[in-house]
Symmetry: T
Subunit: 148 residues, 12 copies
């Protein structure tokens, strides 16, 4: 099972940016942290500050991965291009946010991609990635079972 985790803008600054909200782990450490939970999943971590690159990556993931976890960062609040890319691919997509968006600034209360994702997780800290991958794995197994 291959799962891609896409991280949007400024998530490369994890660990130094607002640690009170986002925690003290770097993105690499987060990747390791998540990987430790899923020994049998091939886990790919990707980060970009570029909306277009994220759209490209989502489109490719349709070929390269079985499922997608996305933390869209700020793009989640206005990128209809990313929304359309998610809607266009066949693989299931789970949206994850580290912080509890509903408890922060008003512009973070709306996600334009949630409606085309399988589901959404927010406020669980970096453990949210673990839950997101797990939700995806559960979903993929269910589908797999239904086929057989």
């Amino acid at each position: 099972m291959k799962i891609l985790v896409i991280n949007g803008p400024n998530l490369n600054m994890l660990g130094t940016r607002k640690p009170g909200i986002y925690g003290h782990s770097s993105l690499n450490e987060v990747k390791q942290y998540v990987a430790d939970y899923f020994k049998r999943v091939k886990l790919d971590f990707y980060q970009s500050n570029h909306e277009g690159e994220i759209v490209d990556k989502i489109q490719q993931a349709d070929q390269d991965a079985d499922g997608l976890v996305i933390n869209p960062g700020a793009y989640g609040h206005y990128s209809y291009a990313i929304r359309d890319a998610i809607e266009a691919v066949q693989i299931p997509v789970i949206e994850v946010h580290i912080s509890n968006l509903a408890a922060r600034e008003t512009f973070r209360h709306v996600s334009v991609i949630s409606s085309v994702c399988q589901g959404t997780l927010s406020g669980m800290g970096i453990y949210g990635y673990v839950l997101g991958v797990q939700a995806l794995a559960h979903q993929l197994k269910k589908k797999d079972n239904e086929k057989h």
Copy 2:
């Protein structure tokens, strides 16, 4: 570890109400399904159609449980009374919705309780309860570790 799962209005109709959206399991079956994942957690399932009873239950939970998972049903969209109750208790609270609210009617896009919960999960089907309890357990262990 004692965890209370509160279910709001019409969730007693799980299994018969809109199975395309909410699935075919009854609330009792959901409870059993979740319990099978957490053998070592004392899991209490509660359902009420009454806003006031849910407020009462949340207040009591502060004494009776270590953490709370709540699927507020329709009350999540307007019950500031439930919101205030959650804000008033000390134990962590996780909000869970079976369906992906962002992909449904407009009135379901807003949850007035999210901002006072630890985090929110939506669109994972009944497996969302498993993830919610797991998130809570993770959170409680972390707190416990910090004490020692």
Copy 3:
């Protein structure tokens, strides 16, 4: 044919509350007035000020009655819990308001339950109950005819 008529909050004060708008008959008298029109219908009148009890009653009506007339009172303007209950049951539901809501305060112009009812009646005074029951009876007969 069994028809349940549910009356929401403050409708137990019919006859004393704002008689210029709601008329001088008590709820009991209204029941008698309606029953006189439908000798062959088993008519049940129910009133509660409790949102949760109304949700309970609607759910039970799915077993106990052939159709439902509801005057939701003020709950019609914000109770998504009642809305979801109506949507969840199989029996047809007709919404009735005694006064002409469009000619009163702004908050009364919106009913969150209309879209899940069969139809809506407003401004006919207590005679609106007669029309509501009649509409329901007509609907039930039509369905019955289609079966045979």
Copy 4:
């Protein structure tokens, strides 16, 4: 007792337009259907696609009829000219919509004429005309009784 039933734009296409919503009867058949219920009422059916003609007809009805049932069609959502005409006449007016407007497009959720009608009926199919005429007849008899 003379009752005029005014039908607004596109209601001359009843039976062919969106039969899933508006049914399979033509406007003439609807008229006959309603007339069969009220043998003793002199029933006049009128249809026009012209807002101005409808305003004219309402004004004349004040002389020519004892009451008015109006299905304003799309004009109900924006014609303040029709609204003012209804407000200007002395005879009672009942608004009828065949479909349940609250369950359709947003622009159909508002009726600018409801507040100046006696009452409103929606979602009862063509049987709504029967109920509308009946409501009007009831109203007229009540007034008549009060005079004597």
Copy 5:
């Protein structure tokens, strides 16, 4: 000097409609009342309940009259067709309302034609027609003077 006075929907009911607001004079009496003030002006009074006829009349007025006074009635609140007609003609146009619109229902607070008229008068009762014609005459004389 030829001045046309166009009256919109329901103004043919002047004198009987809401006399507390619109006064007790019929439209004919109003015409006479105004004509008595302007012996040397050729005054034409026109009324229609039909939006299209009013558009036609405005277009013709560009040939037939030196100036236009319009009381658009309810059409003033939504008829962009009338607005465009006024904008398209060369002769000056003055908007008159008998009642003080700002003191009535919200929908009457907006006039979509004011911005393409020379000016607007409201709340002066039927004397507003006198002032409107006078304003127009003043305007036409000024233009005439500027030519010579």
Copy 6:
């Protein structure tokens, strides 16, 4: 003189909930505190988390009390059922909020019950109950004087 003080949801947690905002006294202590000011008034304190029970209580108060002080808690922001109950009773009603709602979250800035109360008090801490009862007593005496 009998005065009923109704307290809405979560006010049973006074003293432990957000003491920085609501103070350190329990509801019982508040009652005693208020009673000490009004030795000659028969003061009844009631609290419920249930909207329906509050509606019931208000209706009964019309028989059982001379006046009503209500701290609606969160229900004040959306309960039109409570609003209608207050409007339906004859006795005067004063609305009291412990904290200054205008200085808190946006959803607390609107009270749907203020317009049907005699008056409103907010931001005075628990001393607001004293002022509320005093205002009511003053009002009742004035009425009493007017009778004689």
Copy 7:
């Protein structure tokens, strides 16, 4: 007959400010222009840039004048203090604007004082003052006639 004409902020700059919109006459010249039309009316012209002084002047006018014409300038768009003063006095008040507000910036489309004035005139240039005084004189004569 004594009529006071109050001019709001920046109207002392008439003749130099935006002559394309407001014309080339100074406020003094406007006064003379208007006075020439009404030889028998005692006409008082007042201008202030101070909201409070305008409120004072309106209150005094109730004693000192038979009627009031007010061009509120920018205060017309937000001064509820001036609105309340107009509402509080007994003498009739006519609102005049030199330019056609509906054809200018959005903030000028709303006048908070119109609803408490007798009527409103806009877009007639400085001739609007003549019409305003005339409307007032007409109104005062009518009242006077009604007394006798």
Copy 8:
């Protein structure tokens, strides 16, 4: 192939109304201009300032024409009656606007008929009619091909 081109209010003034925006050709010249492009299409041009007549014409077109091009003029911004007529007919409909509505007044930014048309064209000048007819012809041929 028979195509009807309906032109809404004030389009009979083409050539004289705002030539900077709408061009210098009269409606007749536009018709000739378009006809020259489509020698083999039976092209019918219709214009009316009357909303009701346009509704009538659309309904008849369902019998009389293979497709419809409509420039609704100002009615496009508020006529739900025309919208419903378009939705009710079977033939394809293309909406054409001469000017670029998005670059003009705000009220022109919304078309209430676009969602029930096949497609929309705006800002191409009178050449837009050519493109509209061509789009319709293309569509009709495609349908025709699919049948065979």
Copy 9:
């Protein structure tokens, strides 16, 4: 203890302005009425129609008084200058309105100064001044006690 009571625009007309709402007492009588309740408080009453003077007075009060009661009149609905002045001073401020603002015109439903006052009172008639002074005295005593 020195307490200043500031009264905003048009409150100098108390007793003559809308006595049905504001009562029959003049501002001087109100002052005497309040003073009779607080023999030991040095009570200063101030009224101005000028926003700037009220700002000046609030700033001076910081030196000259122990607390401030303010009835801002219409300025309460838009004067951010007064709001900032209140926020800038150290002494406690209580806002009082004679009438129940929530039951009046929409523009009176918002007070821009409430959030920077200690608390707000509305709808108690002129007795509201008594309650306001009493609330302030209570507050000042509490502070004084905390110092000792």
Copy 10:
């Protein structure tokens, strides 16, 4: 004549993404389809998921092409950067959308680039590209003619 056709995000997925809406042709096939119509036009097709690259391309087109057709995809709904680029170039620009945006999700109803384009086409399927290029060619020839 050189015309550039820019395609925004996810249009590289044409043929596989939502074929019910966007059709079964790949972008390359669309290019060929359009080119077949315009043998004498040098047609360049460009696609990118990157907003910045599209801005770059538009700027270069000012040198490299005579006209521009743009299907902005999702960027059309929020990219003011692309809007400003279009406004900054001298060559004419036509906006094309394959589907009828007005009949889809609300966020697709607004295009922030339309107001700076020459014109807009939507809902014509891939044939819309043909019409767009044709409109551009027509426009360019007209300009060319005006020069000579």
Copy 11:
């Protein structure tokens, strides 16, 4: 070169009001601080809490000064009277705010005067006055150069 610096309401409290936001210098000290930067500019500092006085001062400045720096304080958020005064004068005007308004309360996010100023500066602390005067001086020199 003579430059006037106008300071709006509550800026006379600089140094004592919210020093965390506005700093510890009094307005006099700020004046000295700015003057030290511009030895060759005749700098006039003015402060008033009165909207009308600020309007007066701006009008006079047109005669008395070469340019104007204005910190409108709270009046910047609603004083259209000040806006109109700025628009009416010929000299250039620069708007300065000490704090970063975008990072404070919502009502401070809008300035109704910015659109008629030359430019706006905010968030630079009292150094903003230095930058404002410098911008003005730069502007005046540029104009002066263009003349010669």
Copy 12:
């Protein structure tokens, strides 16, 4: 002292794009113009049309520069990604706009980055860059002084 100046989309077209608004200097000339003012500051000018590249650059600037001036161009109106990058870095950031945004299109009135910048400058033409760098230098010196 090293200061980076970031220029957003379409600013590479300075000098050719809308010179009436943005001036006739190219971006390189602007750089030279600014550098001439600050001989002792190491000034780096950067421009990109790519949102992602700007985010990258801001993040790097935290290491490479002492302060940042940003003219975000159109991205300032919607790029929450850039907003978050600015918030995430430690160095001070000043926002500069060449034109007076408040006097242009509505979409330019909102900047989503202002609240996380130190301050904002708009409408000063290219001299705004000089003021922006100067403000930054002042800020950096002040900080530096505070350290010693």
